[in-house]
């Protein structure tokens, strides 16, 4: 964490996708500062660069240019193993398409980050069970993702994101594949997490959901167009 309490500090971030034939500049110089405990909604039209931004925030991808400090540490020039550790300990991801491992149970999916984080087996089991109970899936620990509804899968994903107790939760259109009622369930869980003091960054198309955030950042065509507190 740096001096002014910001947990995320991006400046001049650019991302160019080079597919060989064409180059797409998805982000054209983004400056973004997020303080601890904020709940930020990132909105904008499809193709504007929201997912690209989130992948960079979560160290799933590396920027073409610009600097990024996460929790006060410069992420540029960090080794792949160190990036893996950052993803493991500092952030939790929730994706639009869940990205659960299909062949294993909810319980095992939630244990996965703790496995990579070196948490002892017993603690892993207990914590995974606790988290699943907290998101309302205490009776679904042995189900595989294919045996769950979309809303349930997303709740498994949230439990998994919380497994290593990260300071930041990153969610990319978490309700995008859900019906309205499961979507609002998920949003309530996020609100709860926010109240507990976690920092949340949520990408969404839904203006109603954006209203529940403390701050809305609007991305358009790879740049930040608008940034205001609710």
């Amino acid at each position: 964490m740096n001096r002014n309490g910001s947990i995320i500090h991006m400046s001049g971030i650019r991302k160019v996708y080079d597919t060989g034939k064409v180059k797409v500049e998805a982000l054209k110089g983004v400056d973004l500062e997020i303080r601890k405990g904020e709940m930020v909604a990132i909105v904008g039209p499809s193709g504007s660069g929201k997912s690209t931004l989130m992948n960079l925030l979560g160290c799933l991808d590396t920027p073409t240019a610009g600097s990024y400090e996460l929790g006060g540490d410069d992420v540029a020039g960090v080794t792949r193993d160190e990036l893996a550790e950052i993803r493991n300990r500092r952030v939790g991801f929730v994706f639009q398409n869940f990205n659960l491992l299909p062949h294993i149970s909810s319980q095992e999916n939630v244990e996965m980050p703790m496995l990579f984080g070196g948490v002892p087996v017993r603690e892993r089991r207990e914590r995974a069970r606790d988290l699943l109970t907290k998101v309302g899936l205490g009776d679904r620990v042995d189900h595989k993702p294919t045996e769950l509804s979309g809303g349930q899968m997303q709740r498994v994903a949230i439990a998994r994101a919380l497994a290593m107790d990260p300071a930041i939760i990153l969610a990319d259109e978490p309700t995008g594949n859900l019906d309205t009622s499961s979507g609002s369930d998920i949003m309530s869980i996020f609100n709860e997490l926010w109240k507990q003091g976690r920092t949340l960054v949520i990408i969404t198309h839904d203006p109603a959901l954006a209203k529940r955030a403390s701050r809305v950042v609007e991305i358009r065509d790879g740049v930040v167009m608008n940034d205001h507190m609710n």
Binding site: R80, R87, P102, H103
Partner: protein
Amino acid sequence: MITIHDVLAQLLRDVRAEKLRTFLTIFGIVWGTVAISLMLAFGNGLHQHLIVQTAGLGDRIVIAWPGATSIPFQGLGKGRKLRMTDEDVAYIQAQVRELKGICGEYENNLRVEYNAKTISVDTAGVNDVYGSMRNQVPSPGGRFIDALDVRDQRRVAFLGDKLAADIFGTIDPVGKTILVNQSPFLVIGVLKKKAQDSNYNGPDNQKMFIPVTTYRALTGEKYIDDLIFQPPSAADTKKTIDAVRTALAHKLRFDPSDKEALAAWDTTDQFKFFDNFMLAFNTFLGIIGVLTLIVGGIGVSNIMNVVVEERTREIGIKMALGAKQRWILMQFLVETMLVTAIGGAFGFAISIGICSIFPKAAEEFVGHPEVSPAVALLTAAALGLVGLIAGYFPARDAARLDPVVAMKL
């Protein structure tokens, strides 16, 4: 902090998840191992069988007897009787370096007693090399005379199978003590039944063999009866016989062209056909073996390759959750090794099973097939290695991608 337990647990989950694919990989390795193990088992069995059937007298050997000179030499008249000692044999061995083996053989009737039985047995004093040169294959549980027996002048005896039956009946002679010219001798082996259509001094199944040193001490005999040697190959026999005769001529002073001074029986003629046949047969086996390995290798590597491609998304997810590259690769390595080990073990077991139910009646014609653990191990390892290489690089490539790229693939 990731433990072996974690790796194995993860592995079990993945294997459970992809039953068909795991089955196919294991099947590929089992198939290759069985095919190659059986092929070599039967090939070897047949080879041994043919040797026993056609080479009862010996394996490409020449048998030679010192005779009398027929040409005057350096003032010595013809008709001189020649006698050879061990020293002469050692001299030949030193002069004719290319010999694969040489043995001077002493031979006489000795008196053998066991329990109340006393019989006169045609006995040969020989060295350890004699065993392989003359194809004296022991029955299971016994052995032929070895170098230590010769060095230490041990009182041990190797019996022809018919002789053993005459003395011992149905009792296993190995480990029993007999009296030879009143000295106790330990029986160390019995000849495995072999076909022997020609002989000198009688067929091996009625003879007894003791270490050459022991023989000399027991009988006081100084002169050998005959000389057995093995040319480097069946094609060089004539040249080798001449070299041996020349060396002996130098030592015993006779004309090197005097064929009667050292009469030689070349038994290698029958091997010309045998060698050609075995060459063709082994070439055939080799080609089939290589083809099997190639086909098996392609199968296994294809499956491994597909697996990694299918799994790239999962690898991406795992990396997003904090898995390091070495975890991904370690899992892959352990998994491949385990699959290989299981496949190899099954393959080995199946091969042994097939050999054990192979009808005894058929063994009379094609010999006894015996699976070699080394062959099974090597085959499975080779296939596993192919799979490992085929899977390792795609796995490493996947683990090198940015997680987001891997997840989208």
